[in-house]
Every structure is written in structure tokens, then in C-alpha cells.
Point group: C2
């Protein structure tokens, strides 16, 4: 150490920032957080907190002024100021240029098409009146419509079909620029995380199997190693590598895939940050996703992405009905289960489907981990007080 430890700034103070700090703490670095809520999960553990909106360029500039390197833990931030700061010589990872491609689901899909990344066909529309024609042009019956900007955790996504839209266009739930894609009849959803170092080195994590909540569309359950053929895992890893190569800059990227019934892989979407699908890496992998991102930011060598334990992650989300004070029902059982790790993010209040924590269950193999996970699955959950 010296008078000046490295200073890392994170735009966003949610659970991803918090878990980043939990790991970074063991290196004696200095972490700065920008968030509008001083009681946000990451704000509670940070060395320096900047209060301000993630969409306020001046707030982002204030954070940048006190840090050596900047990253973000959420996409919905002011991206243009990142480009300006980069032009002024600031290191921002991933680049604002990459964020702008990913922020807009229309640009993101166009990027996949332009780079030969397999993704379902799509059309960009400007208003609800154009939806039906776009669907007719695409062909087929079922579609996913996604608001081009601002969607998050399943919000801004609408699954529909040509017949429903034809009968009642009034069911369209949002206006404005929208990306409409052909719905992929999905056998499984899997995700692959890739880190790209500042010198261009890459590290690809093993694939994970994801199970989604039918209503909230959040990941509820996640396995690694994934229950897929090795050849499919390799293909997904290759596509993930091709994707980050095309992005052309350092960072940590989570690429989500649909695997259809013909065993064809389709990129659904990607995130330029740590991802819910890789929380198990904290306990199951030699290098967690948060440590891997830290290595990228610090320009340190990337770490092994192998797992030393099989891991299963269960999201802990707010009950569907009601808001307010909450607790972890069944916490005793979780704590009594060997290789079961409770994570609560320190959020003050529960809201329906809000991500409040997760549990990772590890075991020497996936079958043992599944048996443990089954024991706690329905008994450990967020309950309102």
C-alpha cells in the first residue's frame, strides 16, 4: 500500500456493487459508489459515497474526478458522458461505446446480426401502430416485443402473438421505439460469462442452466455445471467469445442464450457487468465474477474460471403480494445445510419480485448440490413481517 491505493468508481449502488466491494475488500483498494440513495446496498460498505442520479452527467463526472478507473453495475445510466470522459483520457470499463450498443435493444440486435452472432429475426418499430406489420414481415405466430431502452429484469418485455394483436391492439403495454423479435421456442436458457482484459486476454466461465420465474421473469434457480452436451457448451462459449471480440473492448460480459428444441443456440441478450446468472461463482469458482471484473479494472491477470464445487443459486425475491419489512423465513435451515451460503443485500424494504438476496448451494457434484437445494428450496424464502 502507499498513500494512494487504487481508487475504483462504480456507477450504481445495488447488490452487484455491494458484492463487488465484499470481494475487493480483501485487496485493500478504495471503492467509490455513485447512487441516488445513501442507504443503497453498496453504499453501506463503500469508502466514498457520491449521492446523485445515475442519469446525471455531472454526478458521474464527480465520481470520475475522484477515481482512477470507472465501471458501472447497471445499464441505465447516462452513457454520453462516459464517451466524453474517455475522450478526456479517463479509463472506463466497459467503454461508453459498448454500453451504448447494449443499452438500446435495437442496436444490440443489429450488432448481433452485423457480426454473424446467431439471434432470432427482428424488426424495429417506432409506435404500436407498426407492430402488426412488423410481425407479418417477420412471419410466424409468436413474438417478443422489447422496449428499446429502459427495460430491466423482465420489465419492458411483452410476449405476444399475431392473433392477439390483430384482435385487440389495445393490449400493447408500452409505446415508443420497440424491438420485435420472433419468439424462440426454448428448451433451456443458458448463460455464459466472459471477461476481457485490458490487454485483450479472455476468460470464459462454464455455462450455467437458468430457470426463470413464470411471472417475474427473474432467474429463480441456476445450475453449474449446466445439464447440456459438452459440444453445446463449447458452442455457447465460442459464440460468447465471438461476441466480445466484436465488441472490441475490456469488461465483464454476460451473454444469455436460448437453446431451442433442435439444439440450436440463439443469443437472447447480453449485459456489460456482473450478472445474476453468475452469483454462484462467489463460492463455486476459483475466481468469482466480481474478482474477475476487479482483475479487468486493475489490469491484473485474469483468473481461472473453473469451478472447484458444483453450484446452484436460488434467488430470494420479495413476495408477489405486499411490501415492507421482511425477513428470511427458514434461515436456520439454510445455515444448517453444509455448503449453503446466504446472501442478503441489505435493502430496507421488500417489494413484489424485488431481488433481496440469493442462496448458493455447493456440493462436490451437481447431484449432491441438487439434493441439498431441494431440501431448502420451498422452505427458505423472503416473508413479510
Amino acid at each position: 500500500m502507499s498513500a494512494k491505493p487504487a481508487r475504483i468508481g462504480i456507477i450504481g449502488g445495488g447488490q452487484l456493487g455491494r458484492m463487488f466491494i465484499e470481494n475487493a475488500a480483501r485487496y485493500g483498494l478504495e471503492i467509490h459508489i455513485l447512487e441516488d440513495d445513501p442507504h443503497a446496498p453498496a453504499a453501506q460498505l463503500t469508502h466514498h459515497f457520491v449521492e446523485g442520479s445515475l442519469k446525471d452527467p455531472e454526478a458521474i463526472r464527480s465520481l470520475a474526478a475522484q477515481c482512477d478507473v470507472l465501471t458501472y453495475e447497471i445499464e441505465h445510466i447516462h452513457a454520453d458522458v462516459l464517451l466524453e470522459l474517455e475522450a478526456e483520457g479517463k479509463t472506463i470499463i466497459p467503454s461508453g461505446r459498448i454500453l451504448k450498443t447494449i443499452q438500446d435493444k435495437g442496436l444490440q440486435k443489429s450488432f448481433y446480426k452485423a457480426n454473424g452472432i446467431p439471434t432470432s429475426d427482428f424488426k424495429l418499430v417506432g409506435s404500436p401502430s407498426e407492430w402488426r406489420e412488423a410481425m407479418l414481415e417477420l412471419g410466424g405466430e409468436r413474438f417478443a416485443a422489447k422496449s428499446r431502452t429502459g427495460g430491466y429484469d423482465g420489465k419492458g418485455v411483452f410476449l405476444t402473438d399475431l392473433q392477439s394483436i390483430t384482435i385487440d391492439p389495445g393490449i400493447i403495454p408500452f409505446e415508443g421505439p420497440t424491438m420485435i423479435e420472433k419468439f424462440v421456442e426454448c428448451y433451456k436458457e443458458i448463460a455464459v460469462l466472459v471477461a476481457v482484459g485490458q490487454g485483450g486476454s479472455t476468460a470464459v466461465f462454464p455455462a450455467v442452466d437458468m430457470e426463470f420465474h413464470p411471472v417475474s421473469n427473474l432467474v429463480t434457480y441456476l445450475f453449474t455445471p449446466a445439464d447440456i452436451d459438452t459440444s453445446i457448451e463449447e458452442e455457447a462459449q465460442n459464440i460468447a467469445l465471438k461476441t466480445v471480440e466484436a465488441l472490441g473492448g475490456p469488461g465483464l460480459f454476460a451473454i444469455e442464450f436460448f437453446l431451442d428444441h433442435q439444439k440450436q443456440l440463439w443469443v437472447n441478450e447480453m449485459a456489460p457487468r456482473p450478472h445474476n446468472s453468475a452469483h454462484h461463482s462467489i463460492e463455486a469458482c476459483y475466481t468469482s465474477q466480481f474478482d474477475q471484473l476487479l482483475r479487468v479494472l486493475m489490469n491484473w491477470p485474469l483468473g481461472s474460471t473453473d469451478f472447484h464445487q458444483a453450484g446452484i443459486m436460488i434467488n430470494l425475491t420479495g413476495p408477489e403480494v405486499g411490501s415492507g419489512d421482511y425477513y428470511l423465513e427458514g434461515q436456520e435451515l439454510a445455515l444448517q445445510t453444509e455448503g449453503c451460503y446466504v446472501h442478503l443485500y441489505g435493502k430496507a424494504q421488500s417489494k413484489p419480485h424485488r431481488k433481496l438476496g440469493h442462496i448458493t448451494v455447493t456440493g462436490p457434484d451437481i447431484e449432491t448440490a441438487k439434493q441439498k437445494a431441494e431440501l431448502i428450496r420451498d422452505k427458505v424464502f423472503i416473508a413479510l413481517r
Copy 2:
């Protein structure tokens, strides 16, 4: 969560408090630290910092006033105020009563003798003039003299022999109440960590082998599983359990043993807190020592003490010569080694033998872990800038 998360107070803001917070962070609790230096390792990560001396009863009372439960990460604190606070109904773990027994190496040894815990013979003396007679009464040639209070990390310990003291009593390095014990010709030093829950449940960790630095007397290298017969490990675990039973209260306790050439175990000393000999538990055990202490403090079920990986710990201490700014030489190599975890405590300056961090190396078995540790052992160390 609710408006009131549990508030844990820690007297002492060193690396043990820091690593406690690193783990506790994942449960969304509130950690308060008392320390005289606002830049101390744990102060950097805490929610609430109380600036004050660990020997000032009023400072300890201030911390207690804002917390639900209190613990300490160092023995050299004002213990009487803990007794007072307990009498007033405060939960302090371990009890001030236990701390007072352990703080004074004379009382500690007397406690072992009174409870049939194997420990080498000793005499208590008041001044250097009494040393020689005590040695004559004990018999034998070699002795360890320990200042009854205030010793730490090998300070206040003097290894000597009857002949040297007879020739030149002036070599005695400290005055005041001293415990003189027969020196145990040691084949190995091992340590066993035990947690005692508030309801009296116990959890015993596997034994670790320790290797000490010949000059600083700090642990430099530590293995688990220990390279000792199962019967000896079981005996050490039984003695550790007997010891904490005799203490009669909750807490996390590290018991250090000498194993002599006749395979006899002798308790050397104990610590009522997380211990340097169990840092590997962070990455190698299902439940780390810090998580186990948290479970005790929160009155949660104790966790499995088993290891899922073999682990080796290497202490990172300040170079013998010089003080000042420092860095981790060879950090790249450490980061490139799979299952190698760097911990730096965020201390501002290096001093000779100061504990500045540690590295844990894990592997599927102890041989693999040793091979990795050998690769980095002499190449990764603290260097002055």
C-alpha cells in the same frame, strides 16, 4: 430486513475485524467498530466507527450503547468494563470473565492446571530477581518466560535457559509479573479452533499444522488437513472441547498446541477470537471462522467445520528491515495461480514483521496445494517501495 438490522459491535479495528465484516456484509447486518485509528483496516469497511482507545471504558461503553451484541478481536482491551456491561444486561461474547482469564498468561496457565488440561509446568514470578529460583524449582534447562499481560504476536515472550540466566541476569528483557514455563521440545505446533454457541452447542474445526518464522515468531505457513495421525487430531479436538467447556461460555476460541517428540500434546495458549491459524477457512471450509463467530453472536445454528478444499496459508508480513510504503511483489504470479487468494489488510505502512496480509492456496488435496504454494512461496512477498 426491517428498520432495525442487528447491530454488532467489535472492539478493535484490525484485520480480524476487517475480515469479519467482509463476511458479515453478505447478511445485511450493521457492524460497528471501536478503534483509535480511523484508518485502521476494519474502519475502512464499517457502517459505524467509534474513535477511541480499546483501554478506555467510556469508549467501550459508547460502542456498547449503539449495539445489540459486542465482541472483540484483540485481547488487550479494558476487560472490567465488559463485566460491568454484562451485569447491566449487555450480551458480550466471549464474556469479560473469560477474557480476564485469558488476558493474564498466569491465570490462563492456572486455569489449564485447575481443569486438567495438559500444559507444561510453570511458576509465576513478580520480578526478574525471582526468575532463577523459579527455574530451579521447575527443573530442566530450557524455559519460556512470558510477560503475564500485554504480550502479542510473540512480543513479551523470551526463550532462555538456566545457564544463560545464571551467567548474566541482565539479559532478561522485561520486568513485572511473568509466567515462566518449562520449554516443550516441539515436534510440531498445531491449532484447533472451536466455536461455542449461545445455547452451548459446539463446532470443532479440523486441526492445522503451523510453521513459525524463526525471528518474528509469527505463523508463516499453515496447512490443513494437518500432517498428523488421526488419533492425535482427535485428541487435540477433545482437549480443545474440554477447554472451552471449562471456560463455560459462548465464543470462538483458538487453542494452540505443542506436539512433542513423544507425540504428547501440550496446550500452549489460547485466543478468545478469530485467529491467524484459521484464515484458510475463508476459502477452504464450508464455514469460515468469521462466519462461525457471526453465527455465535447472532445465536444462529453453528455451521459445518469441514473443509471442501485442502488449504495452505502464507502470512504476508513487513520486511525485517525498514518501514514505509509497500506493495505485494509477485502479485501477478499469485493471481495467475488457480485457487490462490490474496488478502491485503489495507494498512497504510509496513513495519518489520507487521502482519499486512495473507495468501491462501487451495487444492483438491494437500499435495496439490503444497505444490502450488511452493511455486509462489519465495516469489510473492511484501516489498518496500
